[in-house]
């Protein structure tokens, strides 16, 4: 509980810093002039809030998927949920149904979540599950390329490719509402699965034997992770590794109980992504670095580190 309060405070600090810091210097973000108001409240505020909500959604779905699959390497990006969500959105955009992009992202994330749960339920050790995710991710990458190839409107292609790299630049309060709503839905679903995730600490059979309804737990987590990932991806494109890094960082303080990791993982994911987005905006690059790229640059090594540590323990989670 104390950790959650600290992470909430950290999130608020990061959000405030995001209002204040940026390429255009602002002395006092709460000053009343039109220029400040426009920059802070119409550009930076929705962007920062989107970053927080996307990070929280990815952190929560990562923690829930890790609990369900009993694997610290699980997250929406690694398991291909994000890739499939992006595929859904790309198909909607490329074929002129931009309004349906969020729904398509949601449905495709759901399909990937169901696939990975069915295929990965009996996976032995974390490595085989990650391989299933690699397969799904490559498949979604290939299908995105195919969709772009077949798209009737090649003019928008560059934008679409750019979009899949992941960014929260120029997002509005509509985006905030979309990812916020889906995060809230996902959080409710996952909260009902929390005790089941806790029971799964004993493994599948013993979890059933202490009275856990595993079918229900599975459905709730799959739906919750799909809602979170679908919302995050529809708004921000593919942003990887937050879902791995957030629970991993939180475990060091909160311990390993999967139920007690859910809320702190969401808060840490949000704070993490806001900080990453501030860094992206402040870095003096010609074109702004994509948030998804930055997340991969930070998260990739974390992922490798966890994988190496697991391998050192004989590949058993």
């Amino acid at each position: 509980m104390r950790l959650s309060l600290a992470l909430t405070a950290l999130s608020l600090c990061a959000l405030f810093a995001a209002l204040w810091l940026g390429p255009a210097p602002i002395a006092d973000p709460f000053a009343g002039d039109v220029r400040t108001h426009t920059i802070v409240w119409e550009v930076r505020f929705p962007r920062a809030l989107t970053a927080w909500l996307v990070g929280a959604a990815l952190g929560l779905s990562g923690a829930a998927l890790q609990g369900l699959l009993r694997n610290p390497l699980a997250d929406s990006g690694v398991l291909g949920l994000s890739g499939f969500a992006a595929l859904g959105a790309v198909i909607a955009f490329a074929f002129g149904f931009a309004a349906f992009a969020p729904i398509a992202a949601l449905l495709f994330a759901l399909a990937a979540a169901m696939l990975v749960t069915v295929l990965g339920w009996r996976a032995r050790g974390p490595a085989s599950l990650v391989l299933i995710g690699v397969g799904l991710s490559s498949l979604s990458g290939g299908l995105i390329a195919l969709a772009l190839n077949l798209a009737p409107n090649p003019g928008a292609l560059a934008d679409l490719v750019n979009w899949t790299l992941g960014s929260v630049e120029g997002r509005s309060l509509n985006d905030v509402a979309l990812v916020g709503g889906l995060l809230a839905l996902g959080a409710v679903l996952v909260a009902f699965a929390a005790r089941g995730l806790q029971a799964l600490t004993l493994g599948e059979e013993a979890a059933a034997a202490i009275g856990a309804d595993l079918g229900r737990t599975r459905v709730l987590v799959v739906l919750g992770a799909a809602a979170c990932t679908g919302g995050a991806t529809a708004v921000a494109g593919v942003i990887g590794f937050v879902g791995i890094a957030a629970p991993h960082l939180v475990r060091a303080i909160a311990g390993h109980d999967p139920a007690r990791l859910l809320l702190p993982s969401a808060l840490a994911g949000g704070a993490l992504l806001v900080c990453a987005d501030i860094a992206v905006r402040l870095l003096p690059t010609d074109a702004e670095l994509k948030l998804g790229v930055a997340a991969a640059l930070i998260g990739g090594p974390v992922f490798a580190l966890i994988a190496a540590r697991l391998a050192g323990r004989g590949g058993d989670a």
């Binding site: 005790r195 029971a199 600490t201 493994g203 013993a206 034997a209 202490i210 311990g255 999967p258 007690r260």
Partner: protein, 255 residues
């Protein structure tokens, strides 16, 4: 008094093989029953069938008077506490958090324990001699301590029946006798115990009845000394063996 668990002519076919063939056994209140037999004899299958974790093709199973497949997971957990052969702690939680998972069916979670849950967890940890280790993480204790922590989880469930798959595997002789003591107390308090083991001496010492299995069939059943005859042991294990009494305790000797 109806049986805590009752298997009547149960047959289980897995992958074309009869892993249980017309097996009848029961555990009543106050009874300790041991399942004996070589590897692959069907001991685990029977424990899983009793708990409703495994379907059977023929015969009938009653857990506390009802078919386990018709009960919810929670109702089953309130009637029997099951300990799998290789219990897992996927995440390295503390010993007491693991034991507290036994209270799941009572509606409690490790971070939210009512007074009765807390008392049950404390008693289970105490019975398994884990009190000094209760705050330790599962990956920081020895194999024998881990096995006892999982047993404490099953005890914390406070179900009438304990269905335990090789609960003393990996324990030293003194600890195994400690587990036997736990069984006796559970039975004296009106519960029942059904456990599988390769430790024939332990079974002969603690069990009121044994069921000796081979290839899914019952070779012998009854009070240990009567059931574990030379002929039965030899037939079940494929090696000439007999029960001998050494300083009052029974043990099995194989040639």
């Amino acid at each position: 008094m109806s049986a805590l668990v009752e298997l009547d002519s149960v047959t289980v076919i897995l992958g074309g093989a009869r892993v249980a063939d017309c097996v009848t056994l029961s555990v009543r209140s106050g009874e300790i029953v041991a399942l004996l037999g070589p590897n692959g004899a069907g001991k685990t299958t029977l424990l899983r069938v009793a708990q409703g974790l495994q379907d059977h093709q023929r015969g009938s199973v009653k857990l506390g008077g009802e078919a386990p497949r018709l009960l919810s997971a929670r109702e089953r957990a309130l009637r029997a506490a099951y300990l799998p052969q290789r219990p897992q702690a996927v995440w390295p939680v503390s010993v007491e958090a693991l034991a507290a998972l036994g209270r799941y069916a009572h509606g409690a979670a490790p971070e939210r324990l009512g007074p009765r849950d807390r008392a049950a967890v404390d008693a289970a940890i105490e019975a398994c001699a884990l009190t000094p280790l209760r705050k330790r993480r599962m990956d920081e204790i020895s194999g024998g301590e881990r096995a006892r922590a999982h047993l404490a989880r099953a005890l914390a469930q406070q179900a009438p029946l304990l269905a335990l798959d090789e609960p003393t595997a990996g324990l030293d002789p003194a600890q195994a006798l400690g587990v036997a003591e736990i069984f006796r107390k559970h039975a004296e308090a009106g519960g029942g115990v059904l456990f599988s083991t390769h430790d024939i001496a332990l079974a002969a010492r603690v069990a009121h009845r044994v069921t000796l299995l081979s290839y899914g069939r019952i070779v012998a059943a009854g009070a240990p000394e009567a059931a574990l005859s030379e002929a039965a042991l030899t037939e079940a294990y494929g090696r000439k063996g007999r029960l001998v009494r050494v300083e009052g305790a029974l043990t099995a000797v194989f040639e």
